[in-house]
Symmetry: C2
Subunit: 252 residues, 2 copies
């Protein structure tokens, strides 16, 4: 079995792909499922998300559009909630809510885009974070035939230390689960994981961690630094019924 870590999304996958955007999309995705969400719809753009918010062609007595009650919208641009969305992209905020029976429509700057790149060619796509690191490694190992690819979302086309660190944590778990041949990206991630201190130090010192701290979102960095608190792994569903959106459901 091969282990490959792409420090930025590459776009050419053949087997099982773990998408990582630790700060914050994949951490938040895991939290939505932990808080009862039935599924996640990762959209290709904010517009696709907003178009799903309303029942097409239905208006109330006052002539206003009527909401799709089963959908809630979460997402960000520049770290801040998107106008018209119900939530930002905050795992800390999500952890305080009850999403039982709801589908969360997500759109974020880097994480949902990376999932769409992975889904273009990967056979199986999973979302991973530090919070579900153990479970994500086990699930990927169980699904993969020839190759596990860990894909770091990065930030605006540049490598993010927090994602590479998390890739190293998951790579270490995968190596503990069985023999793997590792590529240069995996070696770099493993080196960083072993040298960059504990998870909170690594995430807090990353450029994106510092940006979030400045935006008053430091609680999210601390939340995202918890390792293997969840056993849930968002897995791309075999049922893909909405154009421009990828449906993910919980697997344990």
């Amino acid at each position: 079995m091969k282990l490959r870590v792409d420090l930025l999304p590459h776009g050419n996958y053949s087997d099982t792909v773990l998408v990582i955007d630790v700060l914050r999309a994949t951490t938040t995705a895991v939290t939505y499922l932990e808080r009862g969400a039935e599924s996640l719809l990762l959209t290709s753009s904010p517009d696709v998300a907003l178009s799903l918010k309303w029942q097409p062609g239905v208006h109330d007595d006052a002539g206003e559009a009527v909401r799709n009650e089963q959908y809630l919208l979460g997402g960000e641009r520049g770290g801040l909630a998107i106008p018209g969305f119900d939530f930002g992209n905050s795992p800390q905020e999500a952890s305080q809510q009850n999403f039982t029976g709801k589908t969360i429509i997500m759109n974020t700057t880097n994480g949902t885009a990376a999932a769409h790149i992975a889904a273009q060619s990967g056979s199986r796509v999973l979302l991973a974070s530090l919070t579900n690191a153990h479970a994500a490694a086990r699930r990927a190992k169980a699904l993969a035939v020839e190759e596990i690819a860990i894909v770091c979302a990065g930030t605006d086309g540049r490598v993010g230390l927090e994602d590479v660190y998390a890739a190293g944590v998951i790579a270490e778990y995968l190596l503990a689960l069985g023999e793997l041949s590792v590529d240069d990206g995996a070696r770099i991630a493993l080196t960083l994981r072993r040298s960059a201190g504990n998870p909170l130090e690594a995430l807090s010192s990353s450029q994106h961690g510092q940006t979030l701290e400045k935006l008053g979102l430091g609680e999210d960095v601390r939340y995202a630094a918890q390792v293997s608190e969840s056993t849930l792994v968002p897995v791309m569903s075999e049922v893909q019924d909405i154009e421009g959106a990828l449906r993910f459901v919980a697997a344990t």
Copy 2:
């Protein structure tokens, strides 16, 4: 001053850019200049290189095209010399030749492409390798106003350990030359440089190093692992007179 390391070319530079393709394009480029070459023309494609090989519209008595005597062609695809080229992309081979007065036209899979990406937006573009690491760091420091960007060429869109290691070596020199704020990429490169053993160990263990070894080009890996043997730095010339090609000249 800011130091930024892009583990893959990004395409958005504002100031001074050091392009690294240790195995082998930038190492070979330095060697061509060391062996007397007057300048280097890094072309955007093999075809541009081949079109420069011949004098346009000139034929000899037998009706054959006539060569541009001042030009020699060096380059590779898949590690091997391109048909019609005079040389492969081998620094070891180049180190045995005398190129006095010649211009070398180069086209390679990753390195020359990375230089073209850097040149689209960077004000000053330099070629760096382990063999000129010290000189490249000093020259970049002298030229940069606000930011030094080290750009790793990678291999076919994926991160190469050998380039990130060399970026770490140069980043360490730059930090010794003065205070710098470093980005996530620079931190990852510095971590790798401090953990991945000596230059030959790092280069030999990289995927691309192993590919070259299998192609019988292990001498090139050993040549490229020499640190700061050269004081020459290929710098993009202010005179850019040929379409589809970037002219580099030696600076010390």
